[in-house]
């Protein structure tokens, strides 16, 4: 087997995510949430949803397959934007280097909440770091 040989495997480009978006502590009802992931080109793919009456949103996992070889670094660039009351906020940015589910959170997250007035900041995780306005705990 050559060091450059390829074996295709499933990769998680963006793990499932669900949480609550608030503005000044109150649910951001009817906010438009756009999740973008790009890895094969700079354009990427975007999915959108709208928060419900308690500000809750969710996205299912985004998966693809990747031909792994030793000279290519897998990276999925993740972004989440929220439009609320006519203003756009970026609440998530990450370069996901790991192929596994929930790696960007450092584990399976729970109680994820994102405050739009919170300036996005670096959050260090078990596997790396993200820039986000969100907070979460990890399931046991």
């Amino acid at each position: 087997m050559s060091m450059f040989s390829e074996s295709e495997q499933e990769v998680i480009l963006f793990s499932p995510i669900e949480g609550v978006i608030t503005y000044e502590g109150r649910p951001a009802v009817g906010a438009k949430v756009a999740r973008t992931v790009s890895w094969k080109d700079s354009k990427g793919e975007t999915e959108t949803t709208v928060t419900n009456e308690i500000g809750r949103f969710s996205f299912s996992p985004k998966k693809d397959s990747f031909k792994h070889n030793s000279v290519v670094q897998f990276v999925a660039h993740q972004q989440i934007f929220v439009v609320f009351e006519g203003k756009e906020y970026q609440i998530w940015g990450n370069g996901k280097l790991e192929k596994e589910e929930y790696a960007e959170f450092g584990g399976k997250p729970k109680n994820l909440r994102c405050e739009l007035t919170q300036e996005p900041d670096r959050v260090d995780t078990k596997n790396g770091w993200v820039v986000t306005s969100c907070q979460w705990e990890l399931e046991d």
């Binding site: 660039h77 990450n94 370069g95 670096r122 790396g128």
Partner: protein, 66 residues
């Protein structure tokens, strides 16, 4: 004079570069303690990477005095 980067730190930074795609992520990258001094002196380097079939602009590197 700034001390030299340890090999482990250099490796972490080399990996972190892949996470940076735009100014939003650059802000997180520059939060590393190694960049805490003169953090305002920062320039994002970009280059085309990949091949003819797959190429893109990417966060390319970081220069540090050492």
């Amino acid at each position: 004079m700034m001390s030299e980067l340890m090999p482990r730190i250099s490796a972490e930074i080399a990996e972190d570069v892949y996470r940076v795609q735009d100014a939003f992520m650059l802000k997180g990258f520059m939060k590393r303690s190694e960049f805490s001094i003169k953090a305002e002196d920062k320039v994002q380097l970009k280059a085309e990477v990949g091949s003819r079939l797959i190429n893109t602009l990417d966060g390319f590197g970081i220069c540090a005095v050492g």
